[in-house]
């Protein structure tokens, strides 16, 4: 019961904040709990019968985690996981503050956590994951990570700390380079560690602009033998071959990067489950709703809005490429979360003539980028997200019936709050 007072304080703080602000109250209780009882995190994460699973990498963590958790739960496994927005250390504390009993226990046979790549490296120095999934290295958050090489170093630490299976993306040369570093010299408890590779068929992986992983600019390393592979991808229809057989399902949105997430989740779940049922895998994946505005369509005031997340150069390019080419009504919003908007200028825009509204904390730089890219920025509305959204909703409906919002996470959060969605996952009214 030594954590009870800290948990009680954190719980009360959460309750108080949520009374004042609907959907709020997730961050501060985590800060408080981390301050009052820092050890609780490591104790909780070490307490699961089937261990800790870390899902990390530059892009796709949320979708992969959501898919893996859904498959496990469909098989009757009780899973402890974190919400999409809480993938840093403070977020884990917040999740514990919300879910732990006053004795400091949380329910679940296994913990499957999405982890920010920087925080994952720090956490695994204290709690060794039994299994890990490492998705990729992309040029992301360089204002924080500086260089993709440093991201790869952090992810390697996660792989090296893993005691059971490490699931690695065979299509990312940054991760293929891990093979030699993981193969030799491992001592207990790492001596039984197994590396399992997943990936896409070569033609699918190289389609269009490819998968957008950080280039290594060196002679390609030989692709490792892949155990779980996507061998067919037509629009959203996906077929995967595993060591146990084949399965087919529809991705939650178009884009080969979602197929990577799915095959990573399948690879992990085949390892975790004693009796994996591939038909149930397929049924579960078919029913996965879009994650946190990656191509989801929501209905607001009778209008259909397609939300596309702007997160880093590679995924933004892939998400924009996956859109229909003749969009008629576009909202472009770059918020406070984009600390250094320089990377926007690496993105090649389609042949849009104009967007209707450019908004967000970085609206002026975004408008400058659009204009130099030959796209008229329309009405530029910095900062006031509710006003910009209302202005967008007031525009006449396009002939396609769908308006498109290309937005960073900060803009999306502010919009959701304005629209009264209480959690990031609540997208439909």
């Amino acid at each position: 019961m030594r954590y009870a007072p800290a948990l009680l304080f954190a719980r009360l703080l959460r309750w108080g904040i949520r009374r004042v602000r609907k959907g709020g109250g997730s961050a501060l209780p985590g800060v408080l709990l981390a301050r009052l009882a820092p050890g609780i995190l490591y104790r909780v994460l070490s307490s699961f019968r089937d261990g800790l699973v870390v899902i990390t990498g530059s892009a796709g963590k949320s979708t992969t985690t959501k898919m893996a958790v859904a498959i496990l739960e469909a098989h009757g496994v009780e899973v402890f996981t974190n919400p999409t927005t809480a993938n840093i250390l403070q977020g884990f504390y917040s999740t514990i503050a919300a879910q732990a009993s006053l004795s400091g226990k949380v329910r679940g046979q296994v913990a499957v956590l999405e982890m920010d790549e920087g925080h994952a490296a720090e956490l695994v120095s204290k709690v060794k994951p039994k299994h890990s999934v490492i998705l990729n290295v992309v040029e992301d958050q360089l204002d924080r990570f500086v260089d993709p090489a440093y991201v790869a170093e952090k992810l390697l630490k996660v792989a090296q700390a893993t005691t059971g299976t490490v699931h690695l993306n065979a299509d990312d040369q940054n991760l293929v380079a891990f093979e030699s570093k993981l193969a030799t010299g491992a001592k207990p408890p790492h001596s039984d560690r197994v590396v399992i590779w997943f990936g896409l068929d070569e033609v699918i992986a190289n389609h269009g602009r490819g998968l957008g992983y950080a280039p290594t600019y060196s002679a390609p390393l030989a692709r490792p033998a892949v155990q779980t592979q996507v061998f067919s991808l037509q629009d959203r229809a996906t077929r995967v071959k595993t060591s146990r057989g084949e399965l087919g399902f529809a991705l939650p949105a178009r884009g080969s990067h979602f197929a990577v997430d799915a095959v990573a989740a399948i690879s992990l779940c085949e390892t975790l489950l004693a009796e994996p049922d591939l038909a149930l895998f397929a049924k579960t994946l078919d029913e996965i709703p879009p994650v946190f505005a990656r191509g989801e369509i929501i209905e607001v005031e009778g209008q259909r809005l397609e939300l596309v997340l702007v997160q880093n150069p590679a995924s933004t390019q892939l998400n924009i490429d996956a859109l229909s080419s003749n969009l008629e009504c576009i909202y472009f919003g770059i918020g406070r979360d984009v600390h250094d908007p320089s990377w926007l200028w690496t993105v090649t825009l389609p042949d849009w003539r104009a967007v209707a509204i450019t908004a967000g904390y970085n609206a002026n730089e975004a408008a400058l980028f659009l204009k130099y890219s030959g796209v008229e920025p329309g009405q530029v509305i910095p900062d006031d997200i509710p006003a910009s959204l209302e202005a967008f909703l007031a525009l006449p409906a396009p002939s396609s019936g769908i308006k498109t919002l290309i937005i960073s996470a900060d803009v999306m959060r502010r919009m959701r709050r304005h629209l009264g969605f209480e959690t990031p996952e609540a997208v439909r009214q």
Binding site: L142, N364, E365
Partner: protein
Amino acid sequence: MKLKLGSYYADRLNLNGDQANISVLAKRAAAYGLAVEVSGVFSESDLDGVDLLVIGHGSIAAWASIQGAEELLAAVAKAEILSLAIGSGAERFAAANNMSVVSGERSSRFEEHRLQIGDREFELVGYANTATTDLKTKWFGQAILSTLHGPLLAKNPQLADWLLEEVAKRRGAELPPEPETLAELDALASAARRDALR
């Protein structure tokens, strides 16, 4: 008159949108009525006839893959080619030409730099993510070296126009007065500079 803008390994030195500086120069040159040719530079032989060379910011892996970078950057300085080197491009340019720089604690933020070239003074705003503490933005030989990476010229059009003016002058021409078509871009640049320093 056709201006030749050189871009050093454009496909590798674009980590933070640094090649946007080339498209900004090309777009503004076109607005001024100047014909422009953008040319890739990979070795010394590609420097022939280059009026202005842009050296962008690249990853550790990108620089490791470029053979002969040090020699080329020394040759650029020796040949007194007007250049803009930014981010790690500036640091490499300085190192290749024995300009000493001091390293310290890394900072990652928007910064305001003052650049003096002859009697011209520029107040520049851009994003720096560097451990080089004393370089900031400097005029070195015939090169502007700046730790401000990314689309520096987009946010600082006065520097873009000075570069075009200088190139035109070296070709015996004059840059005409700024056309009205650039007014909206300049207003957005001004707003983006203001936002960056909030």
